[in-house]
């Protein structure tokens, strides 16, 4: 039933309306996951807006335009991205294995996926350390402050995912429905990381264009 149809019902005129039985736990969890992803999206969207607004001030220095800037060498970040892609792929594989009733394959998929996620987090922390060794601390420039903020929050969300991952792993024999939810969450975090990465290494002209499009230009 469409939302519009629901909202135009005249409940005072109706006879008995019987809904189907209460929803399955999986459907309830998926619904909650959608709400959670919406909240996380709004959170990061607001950060993006803040980033774009801040990028329009004269003291803004890009991160990856020329040698000597903090993100000019991105090898470690690309390696980390590969870890996250593999992690997401493993979760997808596990999710497909669950559908095929292959418990062993799903176990392997979810375990390896979790390990790649841990590798991503470790890689991000190594990159932070590399930056600090070069003197690029959090207050070096506004753009770099955003880099630490974005990557830190992204890691925090991944750590939250790892809690869900642990629950999914330990309940795999009795309840496989969590695997698909984990996969969705991991895909989301992969896409989010892609957007964050692209935003952080973009050129000032890109920021100016997006900001102008959003009416945020100076």
């Amino acid at each position: 039933m469409s939302l519009f149809h629901s909202l135009t019902e005249k409940p005072w005129l109706q006879g008995n309306v019987v809904l189907p039985e209460q929803k399955s736990p999986e459907r309830v969890r998926r619904s909650a996951l959608k709400v959670l992803l919406s909240v996380i999206s709004v959170l990061f969207l607001l950060f993006f807006v803040a980033f774009l607004m801040r990028s329009q001030y004269p003291d803004w220095r890009p991160l990856a335009e020329e040698p000597g800037q903090p993100l000019y060498y991105q090898g470690q970040l690309w390696l980390n991205t590969l870890y996250l892609v593999l992690s997401s792929f493993c979760f997808h594989w596990a999710s497909v294995a669950v559908k095929r009733n292959s418990l062993k394959a799903s176990q392997v998929g979810i375990l390896v996926g979790g390990l790649f996620a841990a590798a991503f987090i470790g890689g991000q922390l190594i990159f932070w350390q590399q930056l600090q060794e070069q003197g690029f601390f959090v207050n070096h420039s506004p753009a770099l402050s955003f880099f630490y903020l974005f990557t830190g929050l992204h890691i925090a969300h991944l750590v939250g995912g790892i809690i869900a991952w642990t629950m999914a792993l330990f309940s795999l024999r009795t309840d496989q429905s969590r695997v698909a939810l984990c996969a969705t969450y991991w895909h989301y975090l992969l896409v989010l990381w892609g957007v964050l990465f692209a935003l952080l290494v973009s050129k000032p002209e890109t920021y100016d264009a997006i900001a102008a499009f959003c009416g945020l230009g100076q």
């Binding site: 909202l7 409940p11 005129l13 008995n16 209460q22 909650a32 909240v39 959170l43 803040a50 004269p58």
Partner: protein, 569 residues
Amino acid sequence: MTAQEHHSPQSFWTKYIWSQDHKVIAIQYSLTAIFVGLIALVLSTLMRLQLGFPGSFDFIDASAYYQYVTMHGMIMVVYLLTAIFLGGFGNYLIPLMVGARDMVFPFVNMLSYWFYLLAVVVLLASFFVTGGPTGAGWTLYPPQAILPGTPGSDGGIILMLISLGIFIIAATMGGLNYVTTVLQARTRGMTLMRMPLTIWGIFMATILALLAFPALFVSAIMMLFDKLLSTSFFMPAILSMGEQLGHEGGSPILFQHLFWFFGHPEVYIVALPAFGIVSDLISVHARKNIFGYRMMVWAIVVIGVLSFVVWAHHMYVSGMNPYFGYFFATTTLIIAVPTAIKVYNWVLTLWQGNIRMTVPMLFALGFVSTFTIGGLTGLFLGNVVVDLPLSDTYFVVAHFHMVMGVSPVLVIFGAIYHWYPKMTGKMLHDGLGKFHFWTTFIGTYTIFFPMHYLGVLGVPRRYYAYENYDFIPESAKDLNAFITIAAIFVALAQLVFLFNLAWSYFKGRAAGSNPWQATTLEWQTETTPPGHGNWGESIPECHRWAYDYSVPGYEQDYLPQNQPGEANA
């Protein structure tokens, strides 16, 4: 032993402390919110003592005054009103009113309360750190909020920001539960349009909270970075105490945008549950179906959506582009339309109803009055040219206290008088309740109505003392003393309410399962108060909407939602 009894918690700890039962969590939320709200009430009385009798109390210096203002505002808006409407009433009423056994994620629901309690503890801890709590004003505007010269600019502001972060995590965990429970755990027959308006109000307010609180979270984290790690998100290049600070190029206006993107929906996070609850109180106690149910639902949805595109009307004086001001003034005035529809519908529900002047009804009527007054002054302030001269005066203090201070608090009282019998099995004392209503209703008018006049006189808000301002007449000082006396009187009257809560719990008249003869499902439980799992062996089915009152052709003047048979013909 039934299945429910088998799974119900057995020990004191799991039943009352680490409880996962939505009803216990609701009461935990409510008691904590009332406790912290009483602290905010005491702070407001201390502020009034300074304003009414300046210089008479040595312990209230300028710093203390600003700390009282800040903590009063933040506690009332976030830690009392938001927490009690969503965590308190939301938790108690959603599963019962939609016919569910509990929230869909009871463990997360329990975590939500404990995070909320932690947020309160961290907030109150700021009273005990060096420099005391922050005195930056509840809006916490940088750069002043984190610079020396503002009270509590070290430990105070840090603890405030951390506390807000924890609160938002708590609200998100709770919100996920409320939204998912409404969407996925309604009983058979409970279509969206058969839900009571209370649930609609709480549901929409929860969605607003889930989408608006991230803005506060973002600003709190970025300000913490500015404070602790010397970043420059919000902090411009600045001289402080003759010293050049390390910040450069940040934008305080960016903070204002983020804060008010949260701050204005916050008004409706508080108002929408109040709208819903008042609709139900009026309908039940006037024995009449709510007038224009569908329009009431649509108005809740439209107000929720519009509340995200009006935030900058709080920033007219920030020097924004005049076209922005024009846009935000227009959206602000448009939001008055669905709001006015609701007021008309409440009045039309009362029209020719069989009105029972019970205590909940008195509070509901009081709300319609104070909300209308507060809403009308909002029309003044929504216009840029009127707002500019009034923005920093007591007119604004009067406006927002009427519309989102007094009004929702009256609804909270009305709701407690209405649902206390279900929560405890006892009626609150009627005489004490009426005394509480009239003292609070007339008392709050005597506090806030004169403030409009002070505002028009040009008396500025946020001032600690008003000596040596020629434009402020002597009569304004007398009026301030009068307001202070009224405020003390109203504050003391709340002790009667607290006494009533405690006394009635032990000595109150037995309520029975449905003392108000209401239709909604929470009144149809097997036991009162409802046991663990709410419904005994089987959950109720919903056969009609929530407003079948005084239906022609039936002997009794209400038809419970779980009563089978055709709806009103």
